[in-house]
Every structure is written in structure tokens, then in C-alpha cells.
Symmetry: C2
Subunit: 358 residues, 2 copies
């Protein structure tokens, strides 16, 4: 368990503005803490037409249930690649989305979602299906299906009362999951200053290139300036695909993760977005921006500080799903925020008791 | 001009069967000849949002108009990659399809179409559009467009009276442009034996892998056995992406095209389908199968015989459109069928007078 001391401040005026794609209701600290569980790269629906596909989704459910019962988080963050849409021969992928959120939903825990590169990826026809055996289950699939768009998936996510996800401004299209979220002290309302601000960004991929656009950067700059003009409220940011900034500070792949980094898996090269348009510079200039969290690289779960003075941490989540490449022990990154004191960053692996390690 | 002598026979019983996806009305020889013009790789709509895109489509129209006026063909065959769908930010690509067929339509000439790999390809977002300038013409484009499917494009093509295209059997899905077409003597009807049978196949690509499936092969076998059981009627086959059979007989790229091959451009390596499931073997076993025609490789226009006893020719068409890679002189392959005698295979280039060579 690694502790990163981040001092909090509490003075300021709250500016709740719907223009910023803010979540509708408010989330509050529970006593002195606010705990977030990151579920990254669940890849529901992978190999949907093969026997092991549905089985692996059952295993992913077990990981999530284990983590939720052990940690009792106040907020779950689905950090992209919730689906493997490129394996789905159907018009409507929302059934798989419902499966992915169900463990959280059943426990009445709030959540927020961002998109990864697989969530709206086009179906990839296996060449085998064009041999003599033909297309498996062909009678049960729609001809000329076109998959499910980000907008449709987000509308589905938002249809649940426990979802804090927001379909971001149309001006940021084709990126969709762009929004901010404020977390308040136990007894305060959303008319007061929050204790924590979370930013969610759509880092693209699938139906369009893997990047955070200039317009998204400009949107982030506006929102952050408005919500937190004096940079007093601590902030965290969440998106799916690592930026060039992660490449710049990555420990050599395969090397042991050493202080000031934390984590336990460092077995891949960072696979960054196709272009970096200034987002990381903007983030690292904000002294209130404490850490960013991404998924995408299943073989990485480290958390390292940038070289900037602000000591922002760049973190990978942990591969939570049995869908997606790699057999590293599944788990979930837990962020435990201590009111007026620290953020504790822990890595909880569903594999600690060996149950989930296959 | 190269002549390939192919003896014709005329005895037999016509079996007109809708199961085979046969065209509805009939086409007839004009006196002793039947002339076909192949328009391959037109790539309409390429760079649709840039100035030079629409301009190049105008040039492609001029090539087609020139060829149609010079050759006065009885049938135009659109040999795939009629569109560059991956450049189109719109729900409906049929306007571009209408542009592509318009020169043929205006002259009241019949046509038949097959799909190439670009006709239903997903839109490829340029990374540039995510910079500060944003998406050009964003206000005029549909958000969350999904492109136009093969089925929709084929329905549009078939809505014109002069189209002999057929949406093939649903059992061959996701391939669509699979059908046969019979050409009759000048005064005969479609109740008599044809003088020529044409087969059209969808060789995939775009929304699914580039191949001719086992089911398509089996469909072809059934149709050909039923329509031409004694293999007396000469046959030709048309699809977009070359098969492995083309690779096997290709003259070394860059080498001069020599007898028994004909043609004038040999400046690329053949880019074949991803797998060969027995289609070429089946074709070459039919002594009635005289030649096959493909597009796809813009830098090839040769026509070479297979090594099989039947002397089937495998031919490339000529890159007709200004859309698509390569600046080799545009043109169209012309197949001139002489009743009871020969098929003449000519290459007519729109560039003979230098007008179209840019």
C-alpha cells in the first residue's frame, strides 16, 4: 500500500454549471473517506459465439463482486473497454453493457464510465466463418447489423439511476464520454465547494483515432478553470488510452517497479494515443491535478510521478476482466481519498487468494 | 489488340431459374457481337471533403464518357471499388453511386455491378480533424453516421431500370453481389439457350474479410451445373479482388508483358484475397469458363492464361477512376464477343490522346 500525501484546501465558491456536463445528483464522502474502485478492460462479450467467451464473463463478474464486497467503494469507475464490440454480431451491444455493470448495480453502488477503443469497434469477421462450416448460429443473428454507437451505449448507461456518466457536449463529437463530477463532504450539498473533482475523457479508438482532441483539451481547460479557478480543490482525471506522458516516465518494461513508483506489474511497453496535442502539459501545470488513471495496457499497473513540480501521478489501473489479452492476475485499482488529509492508492487484486488466477 | 479464339456451341436447353439470382430481363447480342466495358476502381467520393476529390470524380466521368462514346458497349460492368466509402462522412453513399453510374445511365446502356473492398468500408477519420481546426463542414454532417451497407447500395443500384445487378441469395451473406446473367442471340428470348453466361461474385473486403467463401463456391457450382450442365455455353466470371490463382501465373512485376499474356501495365505485385478455398480449381476445371476479370490492383492490366488444359484467361481490368492510388493512364478493359467465333479482348485507354493522363 503506497501513500501519497496531498494537502487539501476548502475555501472557494462552487460553480455548478450544466454546460460542463456535470453529473445531475451529488456524491458525498462517507465520514472522512471516499473510495473509488477502477474496473478496467472488462471486455464483456469477447468470443461471444464461443463457449469460453460467456464463461470468462462469469469470471469477470466474480472479480468485481469480490472487490466490491471487500472494498465497499462509494464509486465504481468503468475505465473503458467495457465491451469487446468487435466480437459481437448484433445490432445491440447494450445487453453486454448491462452484464458488465450488474455487480455494481446489484449492490446499489454509483458508477461513472468512459469509453475505450473496443467499446464501439466494428465487428471483425473471423476468416474461419467463411469455410464449409459457415457462420455459427447464423439463423439467430441479424443480417446487416452495424453495431452500437458510443452515443447509444452512453444513453443506455445513463438510463440507470446509479450511473453518474454523462454524454458530453455534442461539440466534442465523435468523442462522447467527456464530463466532470464533483464529490462533496458528508453533509454538504452540491451548492457548496466540493472536496474532490473528477474529470472523465474519451480517449477515442474503435470508430475513430485513439486520441484526446484539441477541442477536448480546450473543453477541459474551460471546465477546470470554471470549477476550480484557484486550483484549491484536488482533482483526478480518468481516460482509457495512455498518453505520450506515460511513455516519457515509464520504468523500463520488465524492470522492477521502484519508489517513487508503486505497482506490481510492468511487463509491457506503453501503447500510447496516436498523437499528443498538449493535454498532458495542461494537466501537469495544474497544481490541483493529483493523478490520472488509464487502462488499455493489461500488463501494466504502475503509478509513477511526472517530473513536473506538481507531483502529479500517472497511473495504470489493473486489468479486471477475463476478456482481453493477457493472463496477469485480475484485480482492480482502489483509490481511497481521506478527507482533509491524503489520497491512499492501493492495488487490490482479486487474485490474492488465488481464486481468480487462471 | 489481342485475339483469343474460343469456339462456340449452341445446343442445349435453357434453364432459367430465379433461384440462381438471374437478372430479370434479357440482354441480346447486337448482330454478331456483344461488347462489354469494364469500369474498375472508380473510387467515387474519395477525398470528398477536399477540393480535389470532387474534381477527380469529374475526370472519372470524362474517362467513362469517352469510352462509352467510342465503344458503344452493350453492357457496362462496374467491377468494384465504385466508391471510396472510407472517405464519406454521411449516412447515405448512394448519391456517389448515382454519380458513378450516371454516364452509363444517360446513354441508356445496361450495367451490372459487383462490390469491391472500398464500397462499404467504414469511415476513416483523418487525425488532422482532431486538431485545433476541427472537423471541416461539421455542421453539415450527421453525427453518429454509420455508412451504407452492401445491401443498401445494391438495392439502390437495382432501382434503376438499366441495372442487371442482383442482390444474391441471403444464404451467401455477408457477400451480396453474387448472381448469374445470360446473354442471348439477337432475336432469341430468354427461353432459349444463351450465347454467353456471365457470373458475378462478391470477393469481400470492407466490412468483412477479402475472400470468396465456401458457400459462394458451392453456389457457383450449383448455378453453373444447372445453367450450363454440358459446359457448352461459353462463360466469363467477374469479381473484384484477385485470387491466389492470379499470383501463381503473374509475370514478374516490372517485367514486359509477353505472349501468351496481353496488356500494357505490370507495375505491381498481385494483392490477392486472404484465402483461396477452391474457387480457382473449380473454375479451371470448366472447359466452358473462358476468362475471369478482376480489378483492385491499379498498376496491373495484364491478361494471362492459366496452366490448365482449358486455357482459361485470368485478366485484370484497367483502373478507370481518378480516385484510388496510382497515376497510370486511366482506361477501361473492353471485351468484344463475336457470335459463333471469338472473344476479342482489347484494352482501350482513355489516355490514348493524352487528355486523361494527369
Amino acid at each position: 500500500m503506497a501513500a501519497v500525501g496531498w494537502l487539501w484546501c476548502f475555501i472557494g465558491v462552487l460553480l455548478l454549471n450544466w454546460r460542463w456536463g456535470l453529473s445531475s445528483s451529488s456524491l458525498n464522502f462517507r465520514g472522512n473517506t471516499f473510495t473509488m474502485a477502477l474496473f478496467a478492460d472488462l471486455h464483456f462479450g469477447e468470443a461471444a459465439s464461443e463457449e469460453w467467451g460467456p464463461l470468462q464473463d462469469v469470471k469477470s463478474q466474480r472479480v468485481m463482486s469480490f472487490v466490491l464486497d471487500a472494498e465497499k467503494p462509494d464509486l465504481v469507475i468503468f475505465l473503458g473497454d467495457i465491451l469487446t464490440a468487435n466480437n459481437m454480431v448484433c445490432h445491440n451491444a447494450t445487453n453486454y453493457w448491462t452484464q458488465a455493470i450488474s455487480a455494481t448495480l446489484q449492490r446499489n453502488i454509483s458508477w461513472a464510465s468512459v469509453f475505450g477503443n473496443h467499446d464501439d469497434m466494428s465487428f471483425e469477421w473471423p476468416v474461419d466463418w467463411f469455410g464449409v462450416a459457415g457462420i455459427p448460429g447464423e439463423d439467430n443473428i441479424d443480417h446487416y447489423f452495424r453495431g452500437t454507437t458510443r452515443a447509444e451505449l452512453m444513453a443506455h448507461d445513463m438510463s440507470f439511476g446509479a450511473s453518474f456518466s454523462v454524454k458530453g457536449s455534442r461539440s466534442l463529437w465523435p468523442s462522447v464520454s467527456n464530463y466532470a463530477m464533483q464529490i462533496f463532504s458528508q453533509n454538504s450539498t452540491n451548492l457548496e465547494e466540493p472536496l474532490l473533482i473528477l474529470y472523465f475523457l474519451d480517449s477515442g479508438g474503435g470508430s475513430y483515432p485513439e486520441l484526446i482532441s484539441a477541442r477536448q483539451i480546450s473543453w477541459f481547460h474551460e471546465v477546470a478553470s470554471e470549477l476550480n479557478p484557484d486550483q484549491r480543490v484536488p482533482e483526478l482525471a480518468f481516460w482509457h488510452i495512455p498518453t505520450q506522458g506515460y511513455v516519457d516516465i515509464a520504468p523500463p518494461p520488465g524492470s522492477r517497479i521502484e519508489s517513487p513508483c508503486v505497482g506490481s506489474i510492468n511487463l509491457e511497453t506503453v501503447a500510447p494515443q496516436v498523437v499528443e496535442l498538449g493535454f498532458m502539459e495542461l494537466l501537469s501545470e495544474r497544481r490541483s491535478m493529483k493523478a490520472a488513471f488509464v487502462g488499455h495496457n493489461h500488463g501494466l499497473d504502475w503509478c509513477c510521478p511526472t517530473k513536473s513540480a506538481g507531483m502529479m501521478y500517472l497511473c495504470f489501473a489493473r486489468h479486471t476482466g477475463y476478456g482481453g489479452y493477457g493472463t496477469w492476475t485480475r484485480g482492480a485499482r482502489i483509490i481511497e481519498q481521506l478527507n482533509e488529509l491524503d489520497i491512499w492508492d492501493k492495488i487490490h487484486s482479486g487474485g490474492v487468494n488465488g481464486v481468480y488466477n487462471v
